[in-house]
Amino acid sequence: MESMEADILIVGGGAAGFACALEAAERGATVLVLEKQPETGGSSAMSGGCLAFAGTEMQREQGIEDSAELLANDLKQLGGTDADPALIAAFATHQLETYDWLKAHGQVFSPALEASSGQSVPRVHTVDPADMVRLLAARCRTTGKVTLLVETAARRLQHDPAAHRVTGVLAEGRDGPIDIRARNGVVLASGGFSRNPDLVRQFAPDCEHAVFVGGAGNVGDGLRMAWALGADLRDMAQIKGTFGKHPTDELNNHSCLCVYKGAIAVNQDGRRFVDESLSYKLLGAACLRQPYGAAFQILDEPILRSGDNEVRILDFERRLEEGLFIQADTLEGLARQIEVPEEMLTKTVADYNAYVDSGEDREFGRKHLVHNHGALRRIETAPFYAYPSTAAVYGTYCGLRVDPAMHVIDVFGERIEGLLAAGEVVGGFHGNAYMTGSALGKALVFGRIAARTALGAAAG
């Protein structure tokens, strides 16, 4: 059998894997990255490219007051008791330096900042996600210390039971099995398992009718390899679909969140069913409970025009051009097209407009456009639009229990030495709900922390 050796072995060539690899290589380590697909990128490259950073120079330049504390508070409020405060603190402490690190490596951000799911202030920093992964991979190459093996899947972790220590992996490459030793540790950056229907069914039976979108290799390999060694799991009950995916359009993977610009969500009966400012994971769960598991976002012309073409989840104009919005000059006409009772839709909108005027949503208690941000607006200026929406599982946002240094922890609360994890394979960070940009953010921030831990470097 072929054998190889490196200081650090990384399983998965997405954002977490390459952030970890680059950080480790910059610190002088030799790194081996395994990617089972022919192409790198995983879900990271397909993503919306939204990153949640707080206190950045971009925010300062645009007069947005944000801080690591406010970010941590938002994450705690969203995650509830299931989110591990130590992981939130690790993210909040290291996110800003990761933003600066990305910029220093030449990452370009689009100029507009937006507030999205779970954010009290605009803190969505948008990148071209595929370009970002390519940039990190290219920077890894120029260090001369990172070897990437594509079409090479990690199959099993090599484990010394006496020391409860992971020593490497058994991988399957193009030319057969490879025995790989990792002197300083193995980092699982293999993403989630949104493309593994059996695991999804096991942990999230409620998502049966959701749409599943994610990297083709994201079937939970890393999760299962660590699980086999007794790794503890976190947030497994928190898998939810993200609201805003067009239920029948197959061309566009991303959700569209008109609600965060002022739209309301109504079900097939023409009734609202939720406070639309909540995290889109909670909106997704509420939507799947509606008749036919689907809903419509209802908006008017000014709300449609307030979209942001630079941010995929807020790019309303493109969806309009693609014919995904249903449009009418009157609410009655819109109701007829979406086959919702006319009187009910007009009453729902009239009631909602009255709540906006009085400052009190008596039905669902909506106060803001999104989370704690933005004043509500009336839906009143023709033409009116409906965006058909269901929930899509873009990521599993749950997985291995890690400590803030990214060591994988077993079911008895002990470290599995030599085993670290980063990115979507990690659980315990998001908890009950979800903030836009925190998954890709977590991949980068935790990937870098894992590299530093493996090399025994100080966290800072």
Binding site: P38, E39, V150, H246, P247, T248, D249, Q268, P291, Y292, G293, A294, G323, L324, I338, E339, P388, T390
Partner: protein, 266 residues
């Protein structure tokens, strides 16, 4: 006003065709197990029919999908657009490369939809093996007026106004019923999305099947075999698709361009 839309369906091009051959003992391509979808031209024809009904509720749209049981999932997909009626015309014997037989069969299919249609719509290439001859041949055989390659149809004063672009010219053809118009795809007739509610109801609802009388259709062409033929080798300088890992492709392309520059240098 009776509008019949004939939908062919094609094998979903998203899936790899691993095998191609005749179903044993038949003259039909073995497409069993391969998902089918509407071609862009089918979609444009269906959308044109739905638009006519949107404009005039008196229009009654019947969608007809010739095919065997393998087409039932697609028929449910069509039913989700809520035509007034949608049925599969069971053509366990239709060979699309036999235009004469196909024309006979499609005539029967329209007849099963309604006695005298005012307008028959179909994609400019019905199915994918007939080079667009079927619509014209069907109109000729039935004695209907014909317009090919239209991208929009409206109704004005009891006539159909077909809109098409021929080279630099825009044409408006006024056709009294009965007429057959073949539709080409265009931004303006991109098929709408069905409502989720109707997708789910159509999944649960019954499928209507109309079976033509056995032996009604004589064959003109007999298919004996069907096989994949590799494309002919292209000559030097013709295009070639790069394959392999992206890095290797980039390196190969860069080397090629460098060599070209060197060769071109004085």
């Amino acid at each position: 006003m009776q509008v019949v839309v004939l939908l062919a369906g094609v094998v979903d091009p998203k899936w790899r065709l691993d095998r191609l051959g005749l179903r044993p003992g038949t003259e039909l391509a073995d497409e069993s197990g391969l998902p089918r979808r509407l071609s862009p031209f089918d979609e444009a024809a269906l959308e044109t029919a739905l638009k006519l009904r949107d404009a005039d509720p008196a229009v009654r749209v019947t969608a007809v999908l010739p095919g065997d049981v393998g087409s039932d999932a697609l028929l449910r997909g069509v039913a989700a657009f809520r035509p007034d009626r949608a049925f599969r015309f069971d053509t366990s014997g239709l060979a699309p490369w036999d235009p004469r037989a196909a024309v006979r069969l499609l005539g029967l299919a329209v007849g099963a939809a309604c006695g005298c249609p005012d307008l028959v719509l179909m994609g400019r290439e019905f199915g994918d093996c007939d080079d667009g001859v079927l619509p014209a041949a069907l109109a000729e055989a039935q004695g209907w007026r014909f317009c090919g390659l239209a991208h929009a149809v409206a109704i004005a004063d009891g006539r159909f106004v077909a809109h098409r672009i021929r080279g630099p010219r825009e044409e408006l053809l006024r056709l009294p019923p009965p007429a057959l118009v073949s539709i080409t795809n265009d931004r303006g007739n991109r098929l709408r999305h069905p409502l989720m509610k109707n997708v789910m109801l159509a999944k649960r609802g019954p499928v209507e099947v109309v079976t033509p009388q056995a032996g009604a259709i004589p064959r003109a062409v007999v298919a004996r075999s069907l096989a994949v033929v590799p494309p002919p080798q292209r000559g030097a300088g013709a295009c070639r698709i790069l394959s392999g890992p992206v890095d290797a492709q980039v390196a190969e392309l860069a080397a090629y361009l460098r060599a070209r520059r060197q060769a071109a240098a004085p």
